[in-house]
């Protein structure tokens, strides 16, 4: 995004200060996944961001829709509106992920529009990149 400078490796928290990053990270749950383990089922109602720290996650629905690598995340399409996930998210390798509930994030940004805007800008960056991956044919099934 144009009005903020990236300060963190994590894509969702990229525009936050070190102190803000430490504070919000502490509200997330750390989960270890084995290969083939599913962290989000297709059709379920997501209530969290899934932030990959180590390993590789695969996005599938009726076909392969891409992979997530460390620092990337999924859940941005459900952040403002709730609906069933069109995709399943599964570990390709042993993974460590953070699950951050939307409610915990909303509590963190409540009353601070600058913080909220920084998160929302990061969400938009991620959505744009996912769209570009699809339009530029890097998803080849």
């Amino acid at each position: 995004m144009n009005i903020y400078i990236r300060s963190q490796d994590s894509d969702l928290f990229k525009y936050l200060s070190d102190a803000q990053y430490a504070q919000i990270s502490s509200k997330a749950e750390s989960i270890e996944l084995k290969p083939s383990e599913v962290i989000l089922e297709k059709g379920s109602l997501p209530d969290s961001f899934i932030i990959l720290q180590e390993g590789e996650l695969e996005l599938t629905g009726n076909q392969y829709w891409g992979s997530l690598f460390p620092g990337e995340y999924y859940g941005e399409i459900f952040y403002l509106e709730s609906f069933p996930s069109p995709l399943e998210i599964k570990a390709v390798k042993p993974c460590r992920v953070l699950k951050l509930k939307f409610s915990a994030l909303n509590e963190f940004i409540a009353g601070d529009p600058d913080l909220a805007a920084r998160i929302q800008a990061a969400v938009n960056d991620s959505l744009c990149l996912k769209i570009i991956q699809l339009t530029h044919g890097s998803i080849n099934g």
Binding site: E76, I77, P113, D114, A117, A121, N124, L129
Partner: protein, 140 residues
């Protein structure tokens, strides 16, 4: 966040916030067949199509033009370019007479830096547009 209407960019803005944004918005009319955006331009303005329809066109290596999609009134053009710094990736050509609100990139960035609440609301509106675009591709 209160959603006031279904406008692709102004939906979360109060009347006062909309008035603030209008201080930088330029209204532009265009005729059928007029080129609104040229492939390769560095322009990063957001275009809100208020009336009319446009064709999004790309060219192959031999210069043949192919229509990728059509965008109708009530939608945004160029919003991804606002977020990601790339050149324009397609030509945008008017199919009909139309009117658009042009939100200049540099002025919008300045305004959003100065007013974080406006930034949160504009970014949230953009997020809904991008989410729909992504889902449209996944569900196609």
């Amino acid at each position: 966040m209160v959603k006031y209407n279904d406008h692709p960019l102004y939906c979360f803005l109060s009347p006062e916030e909309k008035k603030l944004l209008q201080t930088i918005v330029k209204s532009q009319s265009f005729m059928a067949h007029e080129t609104i955006i040229n492939l390769g331009e560095r322009n990063r303005d957001i275009i809100c199509l208020e009336e009319g329809s446009v064709s999004i066109q790309v060219e192959d290596f031999e210069g043949n033009v192919r229509e990728v999609t059509r965008i109708h009134s009530g939608n945004l053009v160029g919003e991804m370019n606002f977020i990601i710094p790339t050149r324009r990736t397609a030509n945008v050509v008017a199919l009909t007479f139309g009117e658009a609100d042009i939100i200049p990139f540099a002025k919008l960035c300045s305004l959003l830096k100065e007013y974080p609440l406006l930034a949160e609301k504009i970014f949230s509106a953009l997020s809904l547009q991008l989410k729909d675009k992504y889902l449209g591709m996944i569900n196609a």
